[in-house]
């Protein structure tokens, strides 16, 4: 820190080539790409698990999967999609675009950013290695209700892998969120006041706060669970006085905000795309931004609506029903503002726009079923039935996944410098829309006809056969649509038309730099004067949206091995913890090795900070 920063400005950073370039990178754009690609791989894995589920349920009394296999598959499907697909895809887009949209050169802590990514990858590996080393994957459902998670009822090591995988993913998310928050508070370009930030940045900001406030609760929960399973405590074991409901409180206090953690970035992306393709500003910027904040705050007061069936009592039922319904107000405001953004615009139906419109149409259905679930008595009939499965897929697939596919089409030109094929993109959209509705709409009916969720099979002649078959057919349409996307991605990556800096005639700062952006993002510093700096410069006159400061010295920290070494130490530590109670003679040496690796990484890291005062 004694080093004068100015001497570092033009020092050429050592660039490594090939795969080492990716392993050592601290560039938020490369990290964002790694996040997105890894998350997409997990999305595909989770999708294959979903296909297995649908194949098994396509016909009554099917024997494709044993109950044990089915239970592991649906548990891993949920866990994968929530923690390893949607959350990290969001994190990937945030990583790539938050700094660009606020006119910053990088994230606040580039090395910590790399660590967040590596912990995501390692956490996923820990979780999936349970298939190989754990005697079976986790099998207690993604919300892992005690005491089904105890060693009595979940006899494989799967749940221990689940706990340790989640711990790594939790550290990853916590570090990533602190990074985003600090980046947004501190690194906004001059003049980009909070109420001028792009709405995607706003939603990233809110999401990150939700994460740092919600994660501790599940961290405590899974640590207690780990102690119950390994060190003989009885927190959740009713036979010894423990309380399974405590788990539900700890889990859902995290779990409900988690829903908004997954959907708010999608709201943000849609709020970026709709105005661009309507060629109008977002209608009611403040209402859209603050309703996001309101959703975030209210999200912490509704966790027990997942527990209506546990006999909470009239007072708690009433409170949580009311609070949950209240959330429909800011959500409704957002939807109306999006619709008003379209009104009297000049709509261009490019693929990202199609996905945004599809998002609105589908999300509304999920919202309506969501409000009905908040009505506690109705919830008592349909909770834990396929109606709930339909509801949250309309929210998380029809909502988040549609928006994120849209974002992929929207930002692909910026990331790669090439356009994605519009023709294939439209095929992708329509097949996905069809397949999605075919898969999940019948599930409303299934729930109303009394089919519980998480059943590995069912008997015929209960009025469920036809809807299940439809749903299974639909799921293959979704799989096919995803294949179309992958094909489009590969073709466009190779032969896509050159994109240019600003292919969509957009409004925000990421389109002011080249596609793909240089390592330091911007050659100049922008001084922002409006919410749509680029648009206003184009349409209201040069200098109305932003002015340029040429006296600008971008500085980037050099590539570093420290983050991956440190993360690898934590990764090894997870396996040490797994063996600590069952085989201490193996576990303790592994832990010591792991701590040594982590120490090496940390030591390097501290040394690098001393050279270059950025975490």
């Amino acid at each position: 820190m004694a080093t004068d920063v100015s001497t570092l400005h033009h020092a050429p950073a050592k660039q490594r080539r090939g795969w080492l370039e990716w392993i050592t990178t601290v560039d938020h754009k490369k990290i964002g790409i790694m996040y997105a690609v890894t998350a997409f791989l997990f999305f595909v894995i989770g999708g294959l698990e979903a296909l297995l589920i649908r194949l098994q349920l396509g016909t009554p009394q099917n024997a494709l999967l044993t109950p044990e296999a089915y239970n592991q598959v649906f548990t891993m499907h949920g866990t994968t999609m929530v923690f390893m697909a949607i959350m990290p895809i969001n994190a990937g887009f945030m990583n790539y675009f938050v700094p660009l949209m606020i006119g910053a050169g990088d994230m606040a802590y580039p090395r910590m950013n790399a660590m967040s990514y590596w912990l995501l990858l390692f956490g996923g590996i820990v979780m999936y290695s349970s298939f190989v080393f754990g005697g079976g994957a986790p099998d207690a459902g993604w919300f892992a209700y005690a005491p089904l998670t105890s060693t009595t009822y979940s006899v494989t090591r799967g749940m221990d892998y689940w706990v340790l995988g989640l711990q790594l993913l939790g550290v990853s998310s916590l570090a990533g969120s602190v990074n985003i928050i600090v980046t947004i508070i501190r690194l906004r370009a001059p003049g980009m006041r909070f109420n001028r930030m792009p709405l995607f940045v706003w939603m990233s900001f809110v999401t990150s706060f939700l994460l740092i406030f919600a994660l501790p609760s599940i961290t405590v929960g899974i640590t207690l669970l780990f102690f119950d399973r390994n060190f003989g405590t009885n927190f959740f074991l009713p036979a010894a006085g423990g309380d399974p409901l405590l788990w539900q409180h700890l889990f859902w206090f995290f779990g409900h905000p988690e829903v908004y953690i997954m959907i708010l970035p999608a709201f943000g992306v849609v709020s970026e795309m709709l105005p661009v393709f309507s060629r109008k500003p977002i209608f009611g910027y403040e209402f859209v931004a603050y309703s996001g904040v309101a959703i975030g705050v209210l999200g912490f007061t509704v966790w027990a609506h997942h527990m209506f069936a546990t006999n909470l009592g009239v007072i708690a039922d009433t409170f949580f029903a009311a609070a949950s319904m209240l959330i429909s107000v800011p959500t409704g405001v957002k939807i109306f503002n999006w619709l008003a953004t379209l009104w009297r615009g000049e709509l261009r139906f490019k693929t990202p726009m199609l996905f945004s419109l599809g998002f609105i149409a589908m999300f509304v259905i999920g919202g309506i079923s969501g409000v009905s679930l908040a009505a506690a008595p109705f919830d008592l009939q349909v909770t834990d039935s396929y109606f709930v499965v339909a509801h949250f897929h309309y929210v998380l697939f029809g909502g988040a996944v549609f928006a994120l596919f849209g974002a992929a089409y929207y930002w692909f030109p910026k990331i790669t410098g090439k356009m994605m094929s519009e023709r294939i993109g439209k095929w992708h959209f329509w097949i996905l829309l069809l397949g999605f509705n075919l898969t999940f709409f019948p599930q409303h009916m299934l729930g109303l006809q009394g089919m519980p969720r998480r059943v590995w099979t069912y008997q015929q002649n209960q009025g469920w056969d036809f809807y299940n078959l439809l749903s299974t057919i639909g799921s293959f349409c979704i799989a096919f649509a995803t294949l179309v996307f992958i094909v489009n991605f590969i073709i466009s990556l190779r032969k896509g038309a050159p994109a240019g800096n600003d292919p969509w005639d957009a409004a925000t700062l990421e389109w002011a730099t080249t596609s793909p952006p240089p390592a330091h993002n911007f050659d100049v510093e922008y001084i922002v004067h409006s919410r749509r700096p680029l648009w206003d410069n184009k349409y209201s006159g040069e200098g109305r949206g932003m002015t340029i400061n040429y006296d600008f010295h971008p500085h980037l920290p050099p590539p570093s091995y420290a983050p991956i070494i440190f993360s690898f130490g934590l990764f090894v530590l997870a396996y040490g913890m797994l063996n600590l109670a069952s085989a201490p003679l193996i576990g303790i040496p592994i832990i010591l090795v792991a701590l040594a690796i982590a120490f090496v990484g940390m030591n390097r890291w501290v040394g690098e900070i001393a050279q270059d005062p950025v975490l």
């Binding site: 602190v178 600090v182 919600a214 501790p216 961290t219 102690f227 700890l250 975490l615």
Partner: protein, 208 residues
């Protein structure tokens, strides 16, 4: 000229010129508040539970709490941690006033207090386990060791942090002065937070 424009335009921004690492530290501590909140809720809602089949089933909360006597040991620990907060802030005062000697002395004193606190906690745990309350055999023990253990872990991390700070301060004295004290301030913030948690734990677990 451009710099002047920047300054002017940023005048009212709440994020203007904040130290990056300090910002991150406060954000992280905000998250830690929720962490200890969840732990304390767990303790409060579970500590009174008497296990139906526990070997110490007849020992209820009052019975266990008698093990603490009139909290003599805990009161001493509270006193030590309080003192360590004073020494920590004096160490920061030392570096801010370019007084290397005071800085290192008080930093060393803080570390010493931390180590004594940990020793005291180990002794306390030993004593309680000796009386037959373990993390396994009753709910009070489980939650008590869990909450205080997590706090102790935080203290231990703090001690390691401050030791590495002290080593660095001795090896590179030029890095710590009135213009460059953020590393000390960050360590201090963490340390005071741990003290703050003890203020909470001391009241909620031992006194109430």
């Amino acid at each position: 000229m451009a710099q002047a424009v920047v300054r002017d335009i940023d005048k009212n921004d709440p994020g203007r010129g904040l130290d990056l690492r300090k910002l991150g530290m406060w954000t992280f501590l905000g998250s830690e508040v929720f962490f200890f909140g969840a732990l304390v809720v767990t303790h409060l809602s579970m500590r009174g539970v008497v296990a139906p089949s526990s070997s110490k089933a007849n020992l209820d909360v009052t019975g266990v709490r008698n093990l603490f006597g009139d909290n003599v040991l805990t009161s001493i620990l509270a006193f030590i941690l309080l003192t360590s907060s004073l020494t920590m802030v004096l160490a920061l005062d030392g570096v801010k006033t370019n007084n290397q000697k005071r800085f290192r002395f008080w930093l060393g004193a803080t570390i010493a207090c931390g180590v004594i606190f940990l020793g005291g906690q180990v002794y306390e745990f030993y004593h309680i386990v000796h009386e037959g309350v373990t993390i396994k055999n009753m709910m009070f023990g489980s939650t008590f060791f869990f909450v205080t253990g997590f706090h102790g872990t935080h203290v231990a991390v703090g001690v390691v942090w401050l030791v590495s700070l002290l080593v660095s301060a001795i090896r590179h004295p030029e890095r710590y002065n009135a213009g460059n004290y953020m590393a000390v301030e960050l360590g201090g913030l963490y340390w005071h937070f741990v003290d703050l948690v003890w203020v909470l734990i001391f009241t909620v677990i031992y006194l109430i």
